[in-house]
């Protein structure tokens, strides 16, 4: 099976099928509503892009949320100034985040290791702090940049007068809310998966892995590593900008806290949780975190009592009391415990668990050692 997945058309087909049927197979988990599905797709893109930098070059950026924010702001401004069509918004989002990534990357990549991380963190925090306060005319600060009835929307106005209410984002008429919004994001995610897969399996990707493994050697091997890391940084920043603009596409609001260090930290956690350097691990990590954030926080005493109503009363009370610690306002606790359990028992994240599962199912056959080493050499899918 793993062999088959190595082939590009099959990998793409399987991936697309899994993504597009999410509304069906996520139903038993209670996660099949449009907003969460959109978030799954969007944060999947964000994490996948982050992984191109962190997973391939080993440079740990702690300021990637800045690009997410820039992408969102650019997209919302495109909605405000030009048109509610999402294509220009996405184009602007990717373009501006690319420019930001180029500039921040150009400066930050002069240093490596922790010094690089802190430089990116500093830039992102400056973006956040300024966006929250001084740059309010551009970002609308705390409230977040929103559409208003007074927006010019030049291009839309050329075709039709303004309606009474706020217009919705659309892709040539298809509204970008609800399921159509999810399918749009899903298609973008599939494209991103394709791009990311190609990069992973190209000489360029191999070069980046070389930089991660031994940057010193790369120099004596004739590589000018800066343009490589710079390119990876920009690509990864553009993925983040794309994710940011998709956030605005599905919900036209851009808030400053999207750029805060906690948001940057979140994508780092998603990537590590899923499996650094694996193709789809980061996306799985993103799903897991978003799932906990949206579903576990929604449980309250009433729902718990319902869940445990089949138990005899004293038992049900105890069950509600104990599980109540981990859901609702305690959802952070569950997340924290999960982080620790995964990193302790599955070093290498969810994908490591997957690999172990595959190996376990495959039984201790002759091919065991071989697939193992292949998995290390070529990040598994």
């Amino acid at each position: 099976m793993t062999k088959l997945l190595e082939r590009e058309p099959i990998a793409l087909l399987v991936f697309s099928a899994v993504i597009l049927t999410m509304p069906i197979w996520l139903a038993p988990l209670g996660a099949n509503y449009p907003d969460l599905l959109q978030k799954f797709a969007i944060y999947g893109i964000f994490a996948m892009g982050f992984n191109i930098l962190f997973g391939l070059t080993g440079y740990l950026s702690f300021g990637h949320a800045a690009f997410l924010g820039v992408g969102s702001y650019a997209a919302v401004w495109s909605f405000k100034l030009f048109t509610m069509n999402v294509l220009p918004a996405i184009a602007f989002g990717v373009l501006f985040s690319g420019i930001f990534a180029f500039l921040i990357g150009y400066v930050s990549l002069r240093r490596s290791g922790i010094y690089f991380s802190i430089l990116t963190l500093a830039f992102a925090q400056m973006c956040y702090n300024l966006a929250y306060s001084v740059l309010t005319p551009i970002t609308n600060g705390e409230t977040g940049l929103q559409l208003t009835l007074q927006d010019p929307r030049i291009i839309d106005r050329m075709f039709a007068p303004a309606g009474a209410g706020l217009p919705s984002t659309n892709f040539f008429g298809i509204l970008m809310s609800g399921y159509s919004g999810f399918y749009f994001c899903a298609v973008v995610l599939i494209i991103c998966f394709f791009i990311s897969r190609r990069i992973f399996k190209s000489p360029f990707g191999l070069t980046l892995l070389g930089i991660k493994s031994n940057q010193n050697r790369m120099g004596y091997t004739g590589y000018n590593t800066r343009p490589y890391t710079q390119t990876a940084f920009v690509i990864s920043g553009m993925f983040a900008g794309l994710a940011g603009s998709l956030l605005a596409v599905t919900d036209p609001l851009a808030g400053a806290e999207r750029m805060q260090w906690t948001a940057s930290g979140e994508v780092v956690l998603m990537t590590i949780l899923g499996g650094v350097g694996t193709l789809i691990g980061p996306m799985l990590g993103a799903w897991l975190i978003k799932y906990f954030e949206n579903i576990f926080s929604a449980f309250n005493e009433a729902t718990l009592e319902q869940t445990f109503s089949f138990l005899p009363e004293p038992l049900a009370h105890a069950a509600v009391a104990i599980s109540g610690l981990f859901v609702g306002e305690g959802w952070h606790l569950t997340l924290g415990v999960l982080f620790m359990l995964i990193v302790i028992f599955l070093p290498g994240g969810i994908m490591e668990g997957w690999r172990r599962l595959v190996r376990w199912i495959g039984g201790g056959g002759g091919g065991k050692a071989k697939t193992d080493s292949a998995a290390v050499a070529q990040p598994a899918e």
């Binding site: 962190f54 080993g58 740990l60 400066v107 002069r110 240093r111 490596s112 290791g113 922790i114 010094y115 991380s117 802190i118 430089l119 963190l121 500093a122 830039f123 925090q125 400056m126 702090n129 300024l130 306060s133 001084v134 940057q215 260090w261 906690t262 930290g265 780092v268 956690l269 990537t271 590590i272 949780l273 650094v276 610690l325 305690g330 952070h332 606790l333 997340l335 924290g336 415990v337 999960l338 982080f339 620790m340 995964i342 990193v343 302790i344 070093p347």
Partner: protein
């Protein structure tokens, strides 16, 4: 002039706090090489040592008075703190001095927490990639926070400084200057305290044989290990010291900043910035960077400066960090090869 003097004092005070928090972090992060995202949580735990001690001291005997009713109709509770009831004046004294006195409790408690953390968890992560360290310590930080939140709530819990140092000192009068140059006593105490703790940590590492072995081990643990010295045990001690330093910083900060469960996270990023600006693996660097950033932040917040550069006080720390890291490749006093990959 007095404005500058006061801002300089603010800078020293802030710097003391930053240096103290960063010092503990640089011990584990800069020297043991563990990216410890739970360091903020240690700071917070220290603060809650003070809170817990105060709560214990003010535990109240509750007597229900059926004669009187509350606004919602239940019997009125009459509360008397046990300590005051049993110990009289000494009890009152204890409550008054609960913050400084809780240092005595915080040291063993934080040492224990640090050692347990290192032996139970961090020990297994020395050789693991930094990514794994980030995930596990972040998870730990969240768990600690949530436990504290469960027991103490999310609202800040005020702690007061002892009455004798509750007010402010008239520094202007000491220096013979005109105007209202006053500064809170407690902040002066905090500054002095941070200097003492920093000095103690340096003295321990510099002048005791134990400290010397630890310092050698930080530079080259393999060689020291070959010499037949149990470097693992020393690392545990270093971690314990880091936890104590962070905890003490937290204890003494409570009168300035009423502690809540999230205060650790608020300081986490800042402490990483301070450590890295100081240079990885350098204790003096972390202290220097703490004071530098504290002082610059104070001056950047002056109206005169803000009028020229709006919003400069919001970003000054990060701006300085960027400038320093770009002009000095390894921060102020960093050692070559520490976490540069």
């Amino acid at each position: 002039m007095d404005a500058l003097l006061l801002q300089f004092l603010n800078g020293l005070d802030k710097g003391g706090a930053y240096a103290l928090i960063a010092l503990g972090l640089t011990l584990v992060f800069g020297t043991l090489g563990v990216v410890n995202f739970a360091h903020g949580a240690l700071f917070m735990l220290g603060a809650f040592c003070a809170v817990t001690f105060n709560k214990l001291l003010t535990l109240e005997q509750v007597v229900l008075d059926p004669e009187q009713k509350t606004a919602w109709g239940t019997p009125l509770e009459i509360r008397t703190p046990y300590v005051e009831a049993w110990l009289g004046d000494f009890g009152v004294f204890l409550v008054n001095y609960s913050v400084p006195v809780s240092i005595i409790i915080a040291i063993p408690v934080m040492l224990l927490i640090g050692v347990v953390m290192e032996r139970g968890l961090i020990k297994y992560f020395y050789k693991r990639p930094h990514a794994d360290q980030i995930l596990v310590t972040f998870g730990l930080a969240i768990v600690i926070q949530e436990i504290i939140k469960h027991y103490f709530g999310a609202n800040p819990i005020p702690q007061s400084a002892p009455e004798i140092v509750a007010g402010s000192a008239n520094i202007g009068a000491w220096l013979g200057l005109e105007g209202n140059i006053v500064y809170p006593w407690w902040r002066l105490v905090y500054f002095g305290f941070s200097v003492v703790v920093i000095g103690a940590v340096f003295a321990f590492l510099q002048f005791t044989t134990y400290g010397m072995v630890v310092r050698a081990g930080m530079r080259d643990s393999e060689t020291v290990g070959l010499l037949g010295i149990n470097i693992q045990k020393r690392f545990t001690v270093v971690f314990g010291i880091a936890a104590v330093v962070a905890g003490l910083a937290g204890v003494m900060y409570t009168p300035i900043l009423p502690p809540d469960y999230h205060m650790g996270m608020d300081f986490l990023v800042l402490s990483f910035v301070v450590v890295v600006v100081g240079g990885m693996g350098s204790l003096p660097g972390a202290v220097l960077a703490g004071f530098l950033l504290g002082i610059l932040q104070s001056f950047a917040s002056m109206n005169e400066v803000k009028n020229i550069f709006p919003g400069i006080d919001q970003i000054i720390i990060y701006l300085v960090a960027v400038i320093i890291l770009l002009t000095m490749p390894r921060g102020l006093m960093g050692r070559e090869g520490v976490m540069e990959e």
